[in-house]
Subunit: 199 residues, 4 copies
Amino acid sequence: MGLRERNKAEKWRRIVEAASRLFATRGFEATTTAAIAEEAGIGTGTLYLYVTSKEDLLLAVFRDEVGELWDHAFTLIDPTAPVVEQLMTAFSHVTAYHEQEPELTRIYFKELMFVSPAMRSGVSEFMRHFIGRFVELLDKAKVNGLLDPDVPTGMLAHNLWAQYYILMQRRYAGSIDPESLLPRLGHSFQVALWGMARG
Amino acid sequence: MGLRERNKAEKWRRIVEAASRLFATRGFEATTTAAIAEEAGIGTGTLYLYVTSKEDLLLAVFRDEVGELWDHAFTLIDPTAPVVEQLMTAFSHVTAYHEQEPELTRIYFKELMFVSPAMRSGVSEFMRHFIGRFVELLDKAKVNGLLDPDVPTGMLAHNLWAQYYILMQRRYAGSIDPESLLPRLGHSFQVALWGMARG
Amino acid sequence: MGLRERNKAEKWRRIVEAASRLFATRGFEATTTAAIAEEAGIGTGTLYLYVTSKEDLLLAVFRDEVGELWDHAFTLIDPTAPVVEQLMTAFSHVTAYHEQEPELTRIYFKELMFVSPAMRSGVSEFMRHFIGRFVELLDKAKVNGLLDPDVPTGMLAHNLWAQYYILMQRRYAGSIDPESLLPRLGHSFQVALWGMARG
Amino acid sequence: MGLRERNKAEKWRRIVEAASRLFATRGFEATTTAAIAEEAGIGTGTLYLYVTSKEDLLLAVFRDEVGELWDHAFTLIDPTAPVVEQLMTAFSHVTAYHEQEPELTRIYFKELMFVSPAMRSGVSEFMRHFIGRFVELLDKAKVNGLLDPDVPTGMLAHNLWAQYYILMQRRYAGSIDPESLLPRLGHSFQVALWGMARG
DNA sequence: GATGAATGAGTATTCATTCAT
DNA sequence: CATGAATGAATACTCATTCAT
């Protein structure tokens, strides 16, 4: 990697970190692009050589942070455990992390569903990717005899994801309290897997 | 009802209708409270004798319109039909109606989840009410032998509602197209009811 | 005039004076609407209850100030004097005044010709009005035997106005110096009236 | 001419053509220097090896295009025709051409009068040159007995030019419509030459 | 009850120009 | 000769809400 490329990569890292930090402490709307640029040590215009909009930057932060979070979550799973347990292992890791940065999480769940057309595919692709990993998880569970082989895993993964997503929205909209999040999710999953899962 | 009360009720009707009309054509943010007041034939300040905020007004429109919509939807259900069919009867009625006013529907699903604290209980109560009616539907299905009596209907109703809600969000965020909404919802429900429903 | 109306008129006066003062000292672009509002002792939003845009405000200042200026200029004219002398009386009064506020004058001649469509008719009307007064002047001169009765006064007035306008543009664009403005104008007029004027 | 010089001349040609094309289609302000550089097939910084500013580039385009236009216009003139006819031959050629590129013409008449000090002499010199050619035309007309020999041709040429310039400004500011431009110009000239011209 | 004049906070983004390479 | 990444200044206007009348 040449000097210029390394400089660029380094700058990009500083930008994403600065944005993440400020979004988390001040919120999305309250954070100005000027503040991000200053925190990252670059000019205000320079920011726009890396992203096309503030929303684009949010998406970058999300991908960076939440992508890594989920990647790690999947490594914690024991594929021989009962399916609900596998799911809860991953989701409880993710929710535990999110609880540490409630403001940023709130932004993710509030802003990213209704994003401008230009960003939409970025968000969709991200979600599809992780739903795909749940499909893999469920397929593996079938092989291990933990799941009814007739179940359409694609649709089931979507259903499980929807339970998670709605609960997170309600949690970070302030409609349900932190303590009841995981128990509710567990019950949701149990009902969603009713009669499908063994063990 | 006295004359003054009738006048007030008439004004309130005009306000809700004006707001509904303008939100539907211009969108929520683009509609000014001044425009609503003018359309309703009242002064700008007078509006605040009826609602506490613009958001409050949106909630009123939502309750008025969507409440009636769901009330009607439940009357269409045949309680002896298979559960998925019962569900689809109600939901397809609702989605068909929403498709006629996409902008207004978009606002509902975008704005109402993350509403300010003062309005939150109003929204929650509304949703709880209709989820409760699904619980009744499922309980009745148990009685009719259409649903496994061991299933926890409260949680199941929440799960079904989540499928619906997420799909509607994705539909009105522009992520999925109109045609695939109902088929997706049907498949979701079938998987959610897997091994529970008979007939 | 009621209290509210007097208040409104008073506020309007303060706005125009504040804008005039700031445009003259800082220039048009460098003057912010916030500064004008503060100088006028009103809120920034209040300004827009009186004008539709910053450009609109400039036009108001122009009309207010330059209208009065020309009105006064016409009172100075001796209708029995030779035509060139009559013209020079009026124009030298106007140019003398403009020389006291060169920045503001510069703005008038730079901005007002290429104004946005919404304001255009306002500017045109203003100019037509004063060109019309020159037509009257020339018609009176015919009656007094100071001008060839066959001359089309409408077109002649336009021509004289064009000489004035171009010279003012060049003066305030910095292309010609202050001292040569009036002599050039005088010569222009003499040539423009060549063979038409007597006395 | 050496190879390097030819390369440079070729690049310059490409730059002026690119700028002309983009100014004409997008307008002056909306055209970015980056877009011009790309259209010309050079780097953004390279542009500044040829011009000192965007304004400078506009002036170059103007000189290139309008200079040629006027040069051609003068060749069309029949010096034995009546003066007004001679003038109208030239001006109608020029205005006809301008009507084909209204946006670019608008820019010329809007921007070039109030140009930055560094460019001012360039514009003035250009105008002086062509006003000078009108002086020649008028002097020749005197010799041919078409114009009163006592008329100061320098000042008359300025006056005629002013009529033209003001009308073009008003035309491209949107204040007068295309059809009335030439008739108005003709009448202006007739009044401006009142009693001076014969034939 | 009704009015409507007044308020004032609040910021993403562009782009001509430069200069280190 | 040529490049293109980096810069950073700069602001009109809207509109939900209030409260004196």
